[in-house]
Subunit: 187 residues, 2 copies
Amino acid sequence: MPRDKKYNEVEVLERAMDLFWKSGYNSTSLRMLSKEMGINQFSINASFGNKQAVFLESLKMYKTKLHQLLKTFEDSSNGIENIKNFFYAFAAFTNLDNTKRGCLMVNTMSEFGLEMDEQVGSLISNYEQHLRALFKKNLEFASTKDTETIKKQVNYLVLAIGGLGLATKVQEQNVIEDYIEMTFTNI
Amino acid sequence: MPRDKKYNEVEVLERAMDLFWKSGYNSTSLRMLSKEMGINQFSINASFGNKQAVFLESLKMYKTKLHQLLKTFEDSSNGIENIKNFFYAFAAFTNLDNTKRGCLMVNTMSEFGLEMDEQVGSLISNYEQHLRALFKKNLEFASTKDTETIKKQVNYLVLAIGGLGLATKVQEQNVIEDYIEMTFTNI
DNA sequence: TTGTTTTCTAATCATTTGATTAGTTATGAT
DNA sequence: ATCATAACTAATCAAATGATTAGAAAACAA
């Protein structure tokens, strides 16, 4: 029988995710990953395949983390206030320990635009649909809004949370708070 | 007397700007620039210094273009509607010919975050101040808003236009329009 | 035409990149 | 203890990167 792996693939992937989150895909080299993950380049490729695959797995892990955050708001009582609370939680999440990393998915959208790896692209658009569903559900809750209004407000909130993900990379906390408060003044 | 330059530095810079606008700093190589600008790498460095300097000059040119757009709204009648019109013009500008390039400044903020070249950073924050001034002036026009409200609404609009710059890279036109319309129901 | 000056071309430099190789080490079933 | 297997290390590969070099070409004053 062969020897066992010295490292835990979930643990080293978490380090990879942190690095991609902070620096993006193109600015993160395999050598940086190797150093940060504590395993060498060969082991990275042995465990994941190649750099693109490490990135995809990092995105999946990020999505899981974000989903854990989201679940709280999916389970709790419904309504606008619930969406607003999610915005605040998202802002805290994307600026954990004042790291100003933004949102890995938003960063990735910005880095690649529409010319994105297909698997990465579908992971992200899948999550956008997920968010849309949450927003829609909460907007419909105890409300007399017509379908057209809800559609527009969902579009609005999706872009607003994208903008929030970008803003947490560069803006101060008080500006972020003003933004969230203002976003929900009229919906 | 020496020979004259075969190329016009403004024209080749415009090509460089287009490339940085489309692909960002790190994903644009000197060889891509050379091909697109129609001059070789030596000439690029002879005219501008190095890659970073070409980028800085590209940003300056972009800023000038954006400023030409902005001037229309600085000169025209004041008020909320004026800001809204600027949002629409900005959305059209960042998605000219359906190129989905977004805003070069927003793209740059997203690519580098706060760890940005000093000159690039001050150029961008300088423009943010410019926008803040425009928004403030128009919000104050024929309005009884208190100082605190105006401060919050300016913060809101600055982040909203950043989000719009990001959104034009990936979203459809109708979603963009819903976003702008909804943004201005809140102020 | 000649000579001087600068632009331009093409080749090359040292690094860095993603990826792979050859060879060594450790594990655990027998 | 032996040995088959897979994980590991370190070195290396070809390609791409930003930058620079040496020399040819062009323009104009004299």
